[in-house]
Symmetry: C2
Subunit: 302 residues, 2 copies
């Protein structure tokens, strides 16, 4: 089957992000006096330069295009966001957390570089994200940089992704109800996806209404992303996914799919795609890519 | 022996920082929809609200006073810096890193709350640091916030503290020479202390010359801090320090004290105090507190 123009666009954007991150993690030291230890740099590169789909940066870039913001700035912010996403995977894979040996078909960072380097590589990737946003190479007014730093920190910290991961670990022993699962997922995966879309509005210097719209769009596709992920965990095999699957069930972790079933989940995914389309309806064709993104997220099979 | 006015000033500033951090880590959730998981919040509080000397925030505040900047902003930036310092201790204490059970006479975070929560608490404290700087409650122009975010990220990441910790772990098996030890220490502990002093110049909106001066002052007292620390590790007992001592020697870690001896180290400390004084000489009495701080750091016995 030939690739759709959407898939080509996604791949092109992923290649741009890969090149941007490769530049940042390959260039000469950022200050004159201070070295970058080779094993730590290698562990960071292993954690982030891994050929991922780069869906979050894609969302930053397409949201920015949609609202008419600067593409080069969006690329840098997308790279920063991917550093946060990658750090979270490096830490989540640690023995004390999800204890995974394999990610995208490769050894996880602590398997390849040891636990201490994996902890420090995650820490350094998280730190680097804020470095990238604040750096002079990101050509945005300081007002927008401050807003991006704040929104990214809120999406990533105890009230966002890290808090969601804490709830997720607790859920292994506590059997959360449906409301608790929704909160957990909104924090663990939803917050970064929402940030990705909101970032486009911040980069474009949009007003309150458009910023709220992008948050709503981000929340909607974030829910779809998680439902599709849970569905895949249940149905896909490890080879397709490049990581262990069926782990939620094996750990007794409740998901909405396990509570409500496959049919409900598929209907819910269709409903979320329509909800995104309704939000974007006033923008007509300008919103085509964002609509296609929602469909891609809801229907992805890997 | 009665306290000196310097010691009272240090304690007053520590109490202000403690109150600021307690407010930030105790208040209602930062967004309407999203919860802050209780065990993770408790682990963060355990990691940062521990009655430390708060030397780094003190340096931010006194550097800001010295250059005439806003005290309330300095307090917030000091709190952010203490979050970074505290996160580094939480992660350094982990079994895969220095494997310490005790800090300031209390169980370390992973002993009290488990390894997973300790990893996430460290991650969340690091993230919170950037949140605090960027938040509206920190009343500074966006230009200065961006500079603070960038300088803090550079001081904390692979080119600073985290990179220094990676070198430190490698040093357990590699017996670094004197130059390598100097680099390691400049990154692991020097970078944050230098940032603390530079932050005062950023908050005050100082020009290039004063900012460079504060960096030099910070580097000088950072060296003194590390030498005094190594000396203490060799000579103090665990009860005075509230943590295990003699560990450097037990691990075969080289320090400048072990390479050069106690007499050289004490002479070097005196020289660094004079060097700081020479830097500050043009400012006369205005620099009294910064000079006293250099002496305090060089002569501290716990």
């Amino acid at each position: 089957m030939s690739e759709t123009s959407f898939e080509i666009r996604l791949k092109t954007s992923a290649a741009e992000i890969e090149a941007c991150l490769t530049g940042i993690l390959g260039e000469s030291p950022q200050t004159d006096e201070i070295a970058r230890p080779a094993p730590l740099l290698a562990a960071m590169r292993h954690g982030v330069l891994n050929g991922g789909k780069r869906l979050r940066p894609f969302l930053v870039m397409e949201s920015t295009v949609f609202l008419g913001g600067d593409q080069q700035a969006a690329l840098r912010v997308g790279a920063a966001l991917e550093c946060v996403h990658s750090y979270s995977l490096v830490h989540d894979d640690l023995p004390a957390m999800d204890d995974d040996d394999l990610r995208r078909g490769l050894p996880t960072v602590h398997i390849a570089y040891g636990e201490a380097n994996a902890i420090l590589a995650g820490d350094s990737l998280l730190t680097l994200a804020f470095d990238i946003i604040a750096a002079p190479e990101t050509r945005l007014p300081d007002r927008q940089k401050t807003e991006l730093v704040l929104a990214l920190a809120r999406a990533s910290g105890i009230g966002g992704m890290a808090g969601g991961q804490a709830l997720d670990l607790a859920a292994e022993t506590s059997a959360p109800n449906e409301a608790a699962i929704v909160t957990l997922q909104a924090m663990k995966t939803g917050a970064l996806i929402r940030f990705a879309c909101e970032a486009g509005a911040i980069i474009a210097g949009s007003g309150t209404d458009e910023r709220r719209l992008m948050r709503q769009y981000g929340e909607t596709i974030g829910l779809a992303f998680q439902l599709a992920d849970d569905l895949l965990d249940l149905t896909a095999d490890a080879e397709t996914m490049g990581k262990a699957t069926g782990k939620d069930a094996a750990r007794g972790k409740g998901t909405l799919v396990s509570l409500r079933g496959k049919d409900w989940t598929e209907a819910q995914l269709a409903r979320l795609v329509q909800e995104a389309a309704a939000l974007l309806e006033p923008f007509g064709e300008r919103a085509d890519i964002l609509n296609e993104t929602a469909r891609f997220i809801a229907n992805r099979n890997h």
